[in-house]
């Protein structure tokens, strides 16, 4: 019972969904790969949280069911799976090679934490300047941004759900920004807005609209809810911290 053709198509779809690619891209990629491998009657039904793929292989009708529990944004993986599936569709890549390449791609270690934190910190700092901050706000935004991204790793490792992480990070960012502005008065608006910009669910929002327009209503609603809930929890966390500091300093 070994159908490498079906397995590599399923692995491609799984990688796309785990990297926060569109549902339609996962479906299209798997179907194109099945067609290139000459599997008949391929059918796929994908959601942001899992998919089912079935096709007729040499051993008869087979189905693969996958649950996607943890998703992160990995644009490089979406790009590389796209390149692999294009090669497969042109007939330049066999099932065994596609399987090997996909596994190599998945085994590659992700960005080390300090690089992710550094890029988050720089993005936050530059957003702060874009919103009218200056040297002091730039430096504070860099420091707080670095902390906010760094704290994500132990939280994720301990299995804190993504939506709850948004609340904690929003709270932390606003609390630190408010404290910093107490010590060194300046543009709190530019500082805090810059820090939370990279946390906003831009990709989920864009994909939600794309999925909904295409007619993938379940995916669209799921992603829309994901975007809305994380934006609301992020703001709730930040608002809670700002409210708390208002209470403490007026008391």
């Amino acid at each position: 019972m070994h159908a490498l053709e079906l397995d590599s198509a399923a692995l491609a779809a799984q990688t796309i969904l785990e990297s926060s690619g569109e549902t339609s891209r996962a479906e299209d990629t798997a179907l194109r790969m099945c067609a290139a491998f000459q599997l008949e009657g391929a059918q796929i039904m994908a959601f942001p949280t899992g998919f089912m793929l079935s096709a007729v292989t040499r051993d008869g009708l087979q189905t693969r069911v996958f649950r996607i529990s943890e998703r992160s944004i990995r644009l490089d993986r979406i790009d590389e799976v796209n390149a692999i599936s294009r090669k497969v569709a042109k007939g330049a890549l066999g099932a065994a090679d596609a399987w090997r390449l996909l596994n190599e791609l998945r085994a590659r270690p992700s960005q080390p934490w300090y690089l992710a934190s550094l890029f988050y910190a720089l993005a936050a700092a530059f957003f702060t300047v874009m919103f009218g901050g200056w040297v002091k706000e730039f430096l504070l935004s860099f420091l707080i941004g670095f902390l906010v991204q760094t704290i994500q790793f132990p939280l994720a490792r301990r299995g804190v759900p993504g939506q709850l992480r948004a609340f904690i990070l929003g709270f932390l960012a606003a609390a630190l920004a408010a404290l910093a502005m107490r010590a060194l008065p300046g543009g709190q608006e530019a500082l805090l807005t810059g820090i939370i910009m990279p946390l906003l669910p831009g990709l989920a929002m864009t994909n939600a609209i794309r999925d909904t327009i295409r007619g993938d209503l379940i995916s669209g609603l799921a992603r829309g809810a994901e975007a809305l809930i994380s934006a609301v929890l992020l703001s709730a966390g930040a608002a809670a911290a700002l409210w708390l500091q208002g209470m403490i300093w007026t008391a």
Binding site: Q111, A123, L200, M205, T206, A239
Partner: protein
């Protein structure tokens, strides 16, 4: 001078954000430029129309670049649109919430939501224009 520094910061922020999301290096220049254009259009026009026009421009440029580079549109879209996303509106909503001013929070929140909706609508128009959103079809 001030707007030059803001423009540079906008491009630098888009690049760093792209690096955070592991965007391939060769696409970073394009997203920085498109991001800056989108942000400039929003600054010039302002309001809901500004969000819509900015989203439309970013969407069209990203679809074009993706076609030329033979890569997926998503790769370009995310860090190009991030400078235009109404972060300030969200911040002001939170401030109003923390001051218990529910009326202002509601108005600001709705305005922010409408801005996000305008961007999303514009991006969708751009995608439909280039036929990158197709209804589900069987691949023979």
């Amino acid at each position: 001078m001030d707007s030059l520094i803001r423009a540079l910061a906008c491009m630098a922020a888009a690049i760093c954000f792209g690096k955070l999301l592991r965007q391939p290096r060769s696409t970073l220049v394009f997203t920085a430029l498109i991001g800056l254009l989108g942000y400039a259009v929003y600054q010039l026009v302002g309001g809901l129309l500004g969000f819509f026009l900015s989203g439309l421009l970013v969407g069209i440029l990203c679809e074009l670049t993706a076609r030329v580079a033979e890569r997926t549109t998503t790769l370009f879209l995310i860090s190009s649109i991030i400078p235009t996303v109404p972060g300030l509106g969200l911040y002001r909503t939170m401030m109003a919430l923390s001051e218990n001013d529910l009326e202002r929070a509601g108005a600001l929140g709705l305005e922010t939501l409408a801005g996000i909706g305008a961007i999303a609508l514009a991006l969708t128009f751009a995608a439909i224009l280039f036929g990158s959103i197709r209804p589900f079809r069987r691949i023979p």
